[in-house]
């Protein structure tokens, strides 16, 4: 076989050779950039430290970082242009993704430097680079890395530096991730009871991949009761996987072919974009909603059938095949609950257009304002198109156990259930966990008399604390009675009101060890919105608000200084 060995391992075809060649060029450019960075860092380190020279050095530093940024931007742009002209699709996409990311990092690195941490620039680059130049990953593997990195960078930073009352008081407080941390005491106590610790042989053996029958039966009973279904739900229509994102990913796989799309009203939970793209390569087409109240909009960010029709028409015009509509109810990040009538309208719109409806009701038991009635889609007397209506629910939010990894699908379509079920062995849940979940869902008495009332009471209190604070700060927000978060408007702190400024403000929160989510992550059309999660313990919440106010104060101060400087110039 030796005659083969000379040519074999190289990727066959000219295209592939080109990719390799271009990759090499990329590497060279990256090496150059790194070299430059190192020089700058050395330069910074050598800066004189005496007080008199410090002022001068500061100016120099600012200047040099500015030059540096310009240079890097220039280089990256050149690189992108070069690749655009020559490289193949996959790589090009990566690079453009990367370039966005890099530029972000260059800027944040600049800030890091001005707060005298010269090491950071190189460090951040080295975080990105391996994912990009790796010869060991496929293109899609590299893309997954870059995408993941860009989406979860902050989250990873938080995982490594969490605030802890006694051990790490300077750590991150996370009001960005939607987790309910208010009832951990109740859950811990319940999970510690002896009925949770049963070990049977069926739990340790290969399961039914759609979920153990005992759990699917319990889920069906649970949803029948809490969704107020007119008739008993069927366990055969239930599929149980390790989390709602897995359910969504599998649904995208079996409902769409690659390149097809779902409609989704924005702002929406950004995880959907990740889940539909990562494996399934399904696109999300935003139905943009606006905060302004007009004749058609009776409340901010109102979803109307007109807007749905409009987006669908646009999609058809662009020759995009739309397969479904994704709704979240209660809405995330708005906290809205759809009325029965609007829900019906949306479903009828979908039916008219042969669209599936995926409806995520993961916050259905987190409606803490008693005056609000939540209507599950499963409560409807007659669904317009039952075989195309697919409901997702899980315990992550309503029971505050995101670490359990449990998500359930309920669909009337046996076909969809069985197709999603074929992904079961890639998204399966441990039998032991299935037993615990079953015990938890079965304990109606505990849920109704202890857990839910306490949880709602604590959510109300935390919500009231935050909304009062926001009011006193004169920060506009949507006051809703469901979910774990508040959608707040920080437009007035942005000058100018752009997504770039939004990003900078977000960064500033992070620099002050406070995690919030910015509107851009929800594909919100208007800059300046943030999602603030309030379902945390009072102590952390208080500290978080302190940090929050500090940042806004800084931001205001900066603005004033800038105005002053501008005025002086004139």
């Amino acid at each position: 076989m030796s005659h083969q060995s000379g040519t074999f391992p190289a990727p066959c075809g000219q295209k592939a050779c080109q990719v390799l060649k271009d990759r090499n060029i990329c590497i060279q450019v990256l090496v150059m950039i790194q070299h430059l960075q190192r020089r700058v860092d050395e330069h910074l380190k050598q800066l004189p430290t005496t007080r008199q020279r410090l002022h001068l050095a500061k100016q120099k530093q600012a200047q040099s970082t500015h030059e540096q940024e310009a240079l890097l931007d220039h280089l990256i742009r050149q690189m992108v242009n070069f690749l655009k002209s020559r490289a193949t699709g996959g790589l090009e996409q990566q690079v453009s993704l990367l370039s966005l990311e890099c530029r972000g990092n260059v800027r944040s690195a600049q800030r890091a430097q001005s707060s005298r941490q010269p090491g950071q620039l190189v460090l951040q680059w080295s975080d990105i680079e391996p994912a990009f130049v790796s010869h060991d990953l496929s293109n899609r593997g590299s893309e997954i890395c870059v995408l993941y990195h860009s989406s979860f960078q902050d989250y990873n930073a938080y995982q490594g530096d969490k605030y802890q009352e006694d051990k790490n008081t300077l750590g991150f407080i996370n009001l960005g991730t939607s987790e309910n941390k208010l009832c951990i005491d109740l859950i811990t106590e319940r999970l510690g009871q002896s009925d949770m610790n049963c070990i049977e042989d069926v739990l340790l053996q290969y399961p039914d991949w759609r979920g153990q029958p005992f759990l699917r039966e319990e889920v069906a009973r649970f949803l029948t009761y809490y969704c107020k279904a007119p008739a008993q739900l069927d366990p055969e229509n239930v599929v149980v996987l390790n989390g709602c994102c897995s359910v969504f990913s599998a649904l995208a796989m079996v409902l769409c072919d690659p390149g097809e799309a779902f409609l989704v009203p924005t702002p929406f939970y950004g995880g959907f974009a990740f889940s539909s793209h990562l494996y399934a390569k399904v696109e999300l087409l935003p139905v943009h909603l606006e905060s302004k109240i007009t004749e058609a909009n009776t409340h901010p960010f109102q979803l109307t059938v007109d807007k749905l029709e409009h987006t669908l028409l646009q999609a058809r015009f662009m020759d995009k095949k739309v397969r479904g509509l994704v709704l979240t109810n209660p809405q995330n990040p708005l906290g809205d609950v759809y009325s029965r009538e609007s829900l019906k309208e949306y479903l009828e719109f979908a039916k008219r257009n042969d669209l599936h409806v995926i409806i995520d009701e993961i916050y259905m038991l987190s409606v803490f304002d008693e005056s609000i009635t939540f209507h599950s889609v499963l409560s409807m007397e007659r669904l317009p198109d039952p075989n195309r209506t697919h409901v997702i629910w899980g315990t992550s939010k309503d029971f505050g156990i995101s670490g359990f990894r449990f998500g359930a699908l309920y669909t009337h379509s046996k076909e969809v259930a069985s197709a999603v079920g074929s992904f079961g062995y890639l998204h399966s849940i441990s039998g032991i966990t299935q037993h615990k979940l079953c015990q938890l869902l079965r304990d109606r008495e505990w849920i109704d008399t202890i857990y839910l009332p306490t949880n709602h009471f604590r959510l109300q209190k935390a919500h009231a604390y935050i909304t009062n604070t926001l009011q006193s700060l004169r920060i506009p927000f949507l006051c809703r009675g469901s979910g774990l978060y508040i959608w707040i408007n920080l437009k007035k702190y942005l000058n100018p009101c752009t997504f770039e400024e939004e990003r900078l403000l977000h960064r500033r929160f992070l620099d002050n060890k406070l995690m919030l989510s910015c509107g851009k992550a929800y594909m919100c059309k208007e800059p300046g919105w943030f999602r603030l999660v309030f379902a945390d313990r009072p102590l952390r919440l208080k500290l978080a608000i302190l940090r929050f106010c500090e940042v806004l104060e800084e931001q205001k101060q900066d603005w004033k200084e800038k105005q002053l400087a501008d005025a002086m110039k004139e």
Partner: protein, 501 residues
Amino acid sequence: MSTLAQTESGTPTTCAGPASTQDLGSSYGDCLQGECSRKPDQKLPELHGVGDPVMFSSNSSYLSSRGRMIKWFWDSAEEGYRTYHMDEYDEDKNPSGIINLGTSENKLCFDLLSRRLTQPDMQWVEPSLLQYPDWRGHLFLREEVAKFLSFYCKSPAPLKPENVVVLNGCASLFSALATVLCEAGEAFLIPTPYYGAITQHVHLYGNVRLAYVYLDSKVTGTDTRPFQLTVEKLEMALQEATSKGVKVKGLILINPQNPLGDVYAPGELQEYLVFAKRYWLHVVVDEVYMLSVFEKAVGYRSVLSLERLPDPQRTHVMWGASKDFGMSGLRFGTLYTENPDVATAVASLCRYHGLSGLVQYQMAQLLRDRDWINQVYLPENLARLKAAHTYVSEELRALGVPFLSGGAGFFIWVDLRKYLPEATFEEELLLWRRFLDKKVLLSFGKAFECKEPGWFRLVFSDKAHRLRLGMQRVRQVLEEKAQVAEDPPPCQTQEPSDQRR
């Protein structure tokens, strides 16, 4: 020498070309549901059907074309599994039900496991276990896995927790590795017979295919034993795949081997790794049976024990609790790779393949308990495996049935070629069906892509009473068959020359 398992279906709507449909059918046959076999009379729809809405249109209007294909393969596989599940053997309730000697599960040590898992240290609940985790796996578990593998794989230097990624089972791990190492349509080399479920694992999300390295039972040339893997065969398979325009990205090795129950000698392993390095191939080594080597004389060596790996950046090892700890329902699988890019890329997918925090905690407790593992669990487990193996091999010998078994794993690779009137896979399926009619479930060779019809995998790691009953039923079928075929068919004479036990 090699055949491609699947057609390329990277393009959006057309998923399979006509030429490949037969391959698709055969490779999907078994193993989907806890590796059970497909109903033999299940036939693929006509060629152009796969991916063509017209062919799948009968009440299938709710799924996309790939969704229809996924469902079709699933349903056809589930058929056989359903037969078993509708009529599962139960000592008291259903004594005439089906005995499952087809699924590779260790049911011998449930008593030890349940005792250990119900001890108070297993019931720990704390907030961090209930919240979103580090997607690579909790650090405490990754540390424990690194220590565990260092010890049991006899690694020359301590293994590092940052090279460990934890997922919900090895199926997920195959899927994730295929996705991040290959583009859609690219392939892994795999020696056959092999654990057939891998076909589905790498295809479902990853759209990656397998290029087979066919091995023969006949000992020829430089081979010293049946189904021997050699570098020459690897070279040929690689060459053939390439000549068909298929890009091969890696090699999958299962060690101890499934279904052969054999282990690779360290020298051989080294050769395969050097071969892979020569062609820039990744090597995925599935060592999920590494602690189930019950024959003391067998010198098993983990790839992690090698003093110097030829290409450490492209060598990825997987292990899990399904086999060695008999807990396939726990869903624990782990990757060890020195390549940080691969670890990060797999971890990026872990949002979708995560494991409950409480189970991660229990797993760490179990792996940490070296006393229990070394003094209670392993000795007892290996003794029970050996006893069960001895019983089944005695039975087979009494029946005059040739078989292969290398002292590892839960199964014996049985040569029933002489019971086939004709050496075809149709006859193999008929025989398999005959077993099922007699209420014993085995796995047939085609499900492992064995090139020669007539091989079956028989799992022996079950409780004595079930095993005895199962073997009785096997004996019944074979004796009946022998009576029917009074004139011995010509293929009967061909037997593996080296019968290992």
